[in-house]
């Protein structure tokens, strides 16, 4: 007769007091998942499928998209939701395989650092992007730049 461990044994025993963070994390994975289906499929259709797909993607293409705040909000949402979803998923996987305390903590700190740094960089980019940087060759910029006096 074989005995098997109960699946998904928690890395730490569950707390009896306070906020149940594991539960909210579990719920977040599902809620963000539903939103990400729409956001990522939309992203891939616009950038890879429509028109000439990837061949059309360059600075001018992005400047054209980000001229509309709609796509900036879209990308910002996708950035936050996907990185936190992915980071939390990676945390689960580290807890499943890294049983050594030091390795476990180190990996989780690395994941957290990567997520925080990339959210900051990505949010900065999508917020402060300038479609018509001065001094750049005009043929690389979207057409509307020539009509704006800087």
């Amino acid at each position: 007769m074989t005995t098997i461990e109960a699946p998904r044994s928690p890395a730490r025993p569950p707390r009896s007091k306070g906020v149940n963070w594991e539960k909210w994390g579990w719920l977040y994975m599902r809620a963000s998942g539903v939103l990400l289906v729409v956001l990522i499929f939309g992203h891939l259709i616009v950038n890879l499928v429509l028109g000439e797909g990837i061949k059309a993607v360059d600075f001018g293409f992005v400047a054209g998209k980000w001229a509309d705040p709609f796509w900036r909000v879209w990308d910002g949402l996708m950035l936050w939701l996907a990185l936190i979803h992915g980071g939390n998923g990676m945390r689960t996987i580290v807890n499943d395989y890294a049983h050594n305390r030091t390795i476990n903590r180190t990996l989780k700190i690395l994941i957290l650092a990567a997520v925080v740094v990339l959210i900051l960089l990505g949010t900065y980019t999508v917020t402060f992007f300038d479609p018509c940087p001065s001094g750049a060759p005009a043929h690389l910029l979207p057409d509307f730049c020539s009509t704006i006096s800087k």
Partner: protein, 140 residues
């Protein structure tokens, strides 16, 4: 708490070692979900840095995104989209198992629906994308 496997889970195959979970749809969907999740995560880390280059200069960004347009990378992008499509569809299956009252009952058929929809999506996507990356010249 340990569970006595042989008593509680009736083997669904004559071959020993097969249970309701191990070696069946439930296990393989989990393995694939995990592998695709990790792959997408690492892609995303690099991908955000792509957009950060937008702030450096148009020339620098076009050089970086230009690498996405060669045929080898095109194959990689096809694999990436395949991974995302599976992860997304199977993610919906997981959510249905958790929140739909009949979800657990239909988990196995839902796995095969995921596979069929995934094949259909990829048959639609791959030719379009491969034709773009293998055709000569660039639109810009």
């Amino acid at each position: 708490m340990p569970v006595e496997a042989a008593d509680t889970l009736e083997s669904t195959r004559s071959r020993p070692g097969g249970t309701l979970y191990r070696g069946r749809e439930g296990m393989w969907s989990w393995v694939l979900h995990r592998i695709t999740g990790v792959a997408i995560f690492f892609f995303l880390l690099v991908h955000i840095l792509d957009s950060v280059v937008l702030g450096i200069s148009p020339q620098a960004y076009n050089a970086v995104i230009g690498t996405y347009k060669n045929p080898i990378m095109g194959l990689g992008e096809t694999a990436l989209v395949a991974a995302i499509a599976f992860h997304a569809l199977n993610g919906i299956r997981i959510i249905l198992i958790d929140f739909w009252s009949k979800g657990a009952k239909y988990q196995r058929i839902m796995f095969w629906i995921v596979i069929v929809v995934w094949v259909v999506l990829m048959l639609g996507f791959a030719p379009i994308h491969l034709m773009n990356v293998f055709s000569e010249g660039s639109a810009s």
